[in-house]
Symmetry: D2
């Protein structure tokens, strides 16, 4: 931590600040500057609460230096995490993981039709919502356990790994029974009860970034899960809320290299929620691969105009196949260039 004194701070105020620092068991490094004095604070293992200092007389600002995360950092574990679901379904190993499927499971027929195309495209993961968080209490909120059963059949028939969202502890119990990977949605990124619960799960976790989450908050959400013992986490950038109105969210692709610089966890891009408009999904999926993501999540539907949720951001089966061929070609290019 760095404490910056005001230009007008007296020697007594500086001395007092040093005293407070030392009384908390830290070491104070006084640095007199041209216009004001700064005091470096060392000896702290974790983050210190700034509020101990910023209201002291003569203090202009307290600046946190040490980041509060531990387990997610490259400092702790320099090798990248590979999340391995078996049967060659891996995220983070340099391949391009494709997670595709309908927004929500509406019936077996729809789900199987999409699954067939997803399998054919070479994807190893199938997504589909059983429990849907909906802004309005009057919107379709998923088929629940029935959807999970359909998903389990798809796994059996096509050998696809199933990724699906859980909204609460009871959901997690069911998802653990029927699926292969638990998704934590953007709205629940700081639902700590739920994070702790999936931290005790045997299944890997796909952790979406919250709508207004800073990089630090997102990584700390992963830290919650890891602190409970589950190290198999995949981060998913899905757009953040900004003033822009031409998309549902603003996809923040710089988050991919930013995560890479700090953490060993894999990171993928959700180009469907990240834009909210089907005509943008393919261009942004290409961009997600080009920026270096470990994978993509997209929504595919046989008849997007009849979807019960999020039809506006789903690809048709044809659009999906075209997208896969484009992103694979880009992935080849950047793999060859050693850019991953």
């Amino acid at each position: 931590m760095l404490i910056v004194m005001t230009a007008a701070a007296t020697k007594a105020q500086i001395d007092n600040t040093v005293r407070v620092v030392e009384s908390l068991g830290f070491r104070a490094h006084v640095m007199p500057g041209a216009t004001r004095t700064a005091i470096g604070v060392t000896g702290n293992q974790g983050a210190v609460d700034l509020s101990h200092f910023e209201n002291l007389p003569g203090v202009a600002e307290a600046i946190r230096v040490t980041k509060p995360y531990k387990l997610i950092t490259l400092d702790l574990r320099p090798d990248r995490t590979i999340v391995d679901l078996g049967d060659g379904a891996r995220i983070g190993d340099g391949s391009l993981a494709m997670i595709a499927g309908p927004c929500s499971i509406e019936n077996a027929k729809q789900a199987f039709a999409v699954a067939e195309i997803v399998k054919k495209s070479g994807a190893k993961f199938f997504r589909g919502g059983a429990f849907k968080p909906r802004t309005s209490p009057y919107s379709f909120s998923g088929l629940g356990k029935d959807a999970l059963k359909i998903l389990a059949e798809i796994r059996d028939q096509f050998g696809l790994k199933i990724v699906t969202e859980a909204l609460d502890d009871a959901n997690v119990d069911l998802v653990e029974k029927y699926a292969d990977m638990i998704q934590i949605g953007a709205r629940n990124m700081q639902n700590y009860t739920l994070l702790r619960r999936v931290g005790r799960s045997k299944l890997p976790v796909l952790l979406k970034r919250g709508m207004a989450a800073t990089l630090e908050e997102w990584l700390l959400a992963a830290e919650y899960i890891m602190a409970e013992g589950n190290y198999n986490i995949v981060l998913c950038e899905r757009g953040v809320r900004t003033f822009a109105q031409h998309t549902r969210n603003t996809l923040d692709l710089a988050a991919v290299p930013a995560v890479r610089r700090i953490s060993h966890l894999p990171v993928i891009v959700d180009a469907a929620h990240g834009t909210g408009r089907s005509y943008m999904v393919t261009p942004l999926a290409r961009a997600g691969v080009a920026v270096g993501a470990d994978g993509l999540m997209v929504e595919v539907h046989c008849r997007p105009d009849e979807a019960l949720s999020d039809g506006a951001q789903s690809l048709t089966l044809d659009e999906y196949e075209k997208m896969v061929s484009e992103v694979n070609a880009i992935h080849d290019v950047i793999s060859r260039n050693g850019a991953l």
Copy 2:
């Protein structure tokens, strides 16, 4: 809903769009304009999913008109809701409700010292965290049930109504046993499992606005609670996340008149989280009252520099007393002017 066709849309595309509208059971009103045609859609009881239309050939845009909320609107209930906790503790009746106390309950001594001042100031509500949502898994997360017991003693001794946050179903069970009002925090504003649970509670609910929630999303979160049968809801503006760095959040005081125009629910202002800096709390609390809020939520601590959480935004006991006298004087002025 309004469907806007592109300037180049053909008659066949317009006809087809009308056909889709009518096939869904709605009525289509074709309005040819100077440069393009628009189609009004009526007959829908609730919100229609835009995605049925916006990918149809020739459609430029689908604009939603009907808002998806029902129970929270003045349309449904023109009289303002008064949330009454008994013993004269009311929110929404034209008085200025004051909810004050420490961020978290750290021990009985601290809590009682603050409660004494809060009581003396004329406040009817005491706040204090038992379960704290913390960004880092390594931060102090509250005393839990022990804190609730201290809060219950404060209620008995001082006659203050207790407001405290619940993070999950298990918390709600305990809060119902020990407290008078359940707070839903910003991070949980779209935790629908939790919203439904408090919707089935007998206790009134204080619903904080999410960090990046639009007005509509916030009101729909209240709608979730009301849809389960709990009509005693108080909304709380606590700042939203923006690019601004001089505060922890940007307090959006315009939300108060905006809520008023749509909903019968009372709305209060949290000037502590809304700023994150103690020197701003009193000015923003004054502003909150002046804009017409039904009450204030503030954090008070005997020794903010020693607080285990959020000390930087807590008032000292002296500052709190000064603030109360200022906001009461402003409330008198605007009550006299009939501005509420």
Copy 3:
């Protein structure tokens, strides 16, 4: 400045960083911490460019400490600036300055009708646009010099001081001839050619905050003006752009105490642009006064529904008179409490 090394930084990398710091004429303070080393940099008079350091091997982050402003700070000038336009028209002296008038001057009749009410209300300043920055090239962009002449007549007849916006150097020449105070609009807050030009003017300057300006950028825009020799500046908070859709901009009232803490310059609040909706103007004007602003800027129009620009955020004459009485009463309260 503080340079934070990575946890894995070698001694050689630390030594090299120290060498670079010293080669630039600064002093380096090495502070070994529990997990990583930080290096304090002192001896710099102004802000140092972070980029000299943040790409050096082993450097995790460079954090700027010294703020780049000088003339606007309380450090330099502890007494608050009072902008005095003569005849008792002062901003920053503890009174509540009221700047009112139509968005744009449409004709003499309209302007005089509004001026009469503004004068009667006790206001000392009249606003009215002659040159209007409009998002579309096809919108009404003001009467130009003809409007300035009308404004000058209003000054003569009513004794009101005239505040009007200038968009470029040529405008400033004219405004200097006809008006008393030059307004720099939000869109031009970083138009440095224009800032330098008004910095050489004899007229005081009303500097609106840019739509996405940080506090620091806003204060640095004032610094540009002061650096040219014009010390008579009034800052004006007018809302910033956020994701919120219930207002045109989100009025950031915390900017008022934040400016106060750093600068001696007066700061006022524009409740019209800050909301964009007439029904919110009075509540937010009250809040602006309660938060401690030195004045208000509002738009008043005889027939808002017929206004050529910004009618949706203008008060009628009656609404304006009611607002004035409410804000004066609040100003009395906080003056009595010594809160200003």
Copy 4:
């Protein structure tokens, strides 16, 4: 335009609204709905000012439908604009235009060293600041005319087309004399005097998106230029301001397909300002090409750690050459796929 009445609106209020619509020369289409009535307004050539309606009694909301732009739209001109500077330097023709060079021209030696590499890489455009808009009045603000002379020499020697920023009319006069393309920076996107001036220039214009500009505002800034007769405009996405702190700006790559859908103008991506961190420039440049941009703008410097401005976001010569080879390979892929 669509006018939505409140649920409680009376027949008299609806009739009155229709009367106001018709009195302005428009046609009103009354559409009674299940809960409320909407009124479609047609017959307007351009955008109607919403404020004529939204304060009428019984009106809940007025929704603008017609967009206010004309010349920039595909409706008006279905063929994409190709900006051709001669000698094969074209933007918008399906090739990948590369605009590279130092942030600011510091001296001839530096500029020539960079230009040599830029030329060698196959780029056709050289960028370099002569007039730098700087947040602080005390920062280096460019060499001015001396820089322009150096740029002109580079043009002569290397055959590169020169792109450089102008901050005001006097700058434009000089840039017209020495350079090939005028850049309008983000801070000046709504400096209408400057937009009109470059609208009367013979040189093509590179128009950067403002820091908080919506898509519509950006396109309207281009409309200002076109309305004066200059049709050679290239749009440049350079990141917008959001709450995110891991980058200087949040690069909004979805703006590329969004612009494409509405306008015939070419659009490029500035990956340097869009991130502000050199380690992110190459990944985001790759993403910009993959999303379908017509070109890239990047900053290159021989010694970024010694740059007088923006060193933190500049590539070294080696990094630049590597980036060029990666983005060309991606451009080949998407050209082959017909994705442009």
